[in-house]
């Protein structure tokens, strides 16, 4: 119960923030990628700086078990493919859902594409690639 309520709450706060930051706007994302506006780039920089400090504090007061994700060829190639998708659709995995909430109904197509792409990857990986992928859910 706690996990469900907590997950919903975090999702809600995350979605609300992303919407107010303007990540759901295709134009804002385009302005970030073309350096017309530095607001979203600075947002990332600020978030990463605050997070780095927060993790340092969390590490100092507790002993979190964080395990690493391995580098493999897919890290670079997959990242590159994702970047193209982000620029074209103005969405990343969370944003597509926020856009839908904002009434941008076209995001239904983005979400459908996301599921199809995610479904396809392991099928193609098994046939053509030799490296061990790990998963986003790896501990």
């Amino acid at each position: 119960m706690k996990q469900r309520a907590g997950t919903l709450l975090i999702g809600l706060l995350f979605g609300f923030s992303l919407s107010r930051i303007g990540f759901g706007s295709w134009g804002q994302v385009h302005d970030m990628f073309t350096f017309r506006s530095w607001r979203l780039i600075l947002t990332f920089a600020a978030a990463i700086a605050v997070l780095a400090a927060s993790w340092a504090i969390i590490r100092a007061v507790s002993n979190p078990k964080w395990t690493k994700r391995k580098i493999h060829p897919g890290t670079l190639i997959g990242g590159a493919i994702f970047g193209v998708g982000w620029a074209v659709s103005g969405a990343c995995p969370s944003i597509a859902l926020v856009q839908l909430g904002e009434g941008q109904l076209g995001a239904v197509w983005t979400i459908a594409g996301l599921f199809v792409g995610n479904w396809l990857y392991p099928v193609i990986h098994e046939r053509f690639f030799k490296w061990t992928p790990g998963t986003c859910a790896d501990p």
Partner: protein
């Protein structure tokens, strides 16, 4: 909607990530939730349909339990205990039932809805809001789905291939100085910039 300034935006994102850790002991990893849902569906509908023999009907949990039983029989209880870490490691993305991931997605959607309703900017659109996206798809109700499906497939395929997206790699990964995350973030930012400058010519 007037957007938050960069410092408030950065603080809000960081607060959500840290809150997620403090409350649920997990890192934000949204693409991992897609993977969990997709694999759940695959297990339920595809693999079940192919495997008719009894062995293949085992779920991963049942298989783990069977392996454990044989291990105990062969080597005794201490063989199991020696392998158990004192504290189970937290997961990047929770291995929780599909319902929990769906709940998270519902939260994201609701967050966007509440935000735009409160700002008074909620408006239905068959594509995405804004003149420039409309210009990109040539104001065509036929081009819109094609462009967004293509974009979505790149996101789904790419994030699963690089095992992470903006939340897991760019925010939670880079801030913990992880080489894989820094590499992936450089890659998607670089191609995002490149693709956007190409798209610029189509607007």
């Amino acid at each position: 909607m007037s957007y938050w300034p960069w410092w408030a935006s950065g603080l809000a994102l960081a607060a959500v990530m840290v809150g997620n850790w403090l409350l649920l002991r997990q890192m934000m990893a949204v693409s991992g939730r897609y993977t969990a849902i997709v694999d759940g569906l695959r297990r339920r509908f595809v693999e079940r349909a192919h495997d008719d023999d009894a062995d293949a009907e085992m779920t991963p949990e049942e298989l783990a339990e069977a392996v454990r039983a044989v291990t105990v029989q062969e080597f005794g209880e201490q063989a199991i205990e020696a392998r158990q870490p004192a504290v189970p490691p937290p997961l990047l993305a929770p291995r929780s039932p599909t319902a929990v991931h769906t709940l998270f997605f519902g939260g994201l959607l609701l967050g966007g809805l509440v935000s735009s309703l409160l700002a008074g900017t909620w408006a239905p659109s068959m594509g995405l809001h804004g003149e420039r996206f409309a210009a990109l798809v040539r104001h065509s109700p036929l081009v819109t789905p094609l462009v967004l499906l293509f974009g979505g497939m790149c996101i789904g395929f790419g994030t699963r291939m690089s095992t992470g997206c903006t939340s897991g790699h760019a925010l939670c990964g880079v801030s913990r100085f992880r080489p894989a995350s820094i590499l992936a973030t450089c890659a998607f930012f670089a191609t995002g910039v490149g693709a956007s400058f190409i798209l610029e010519r189509l607007l």
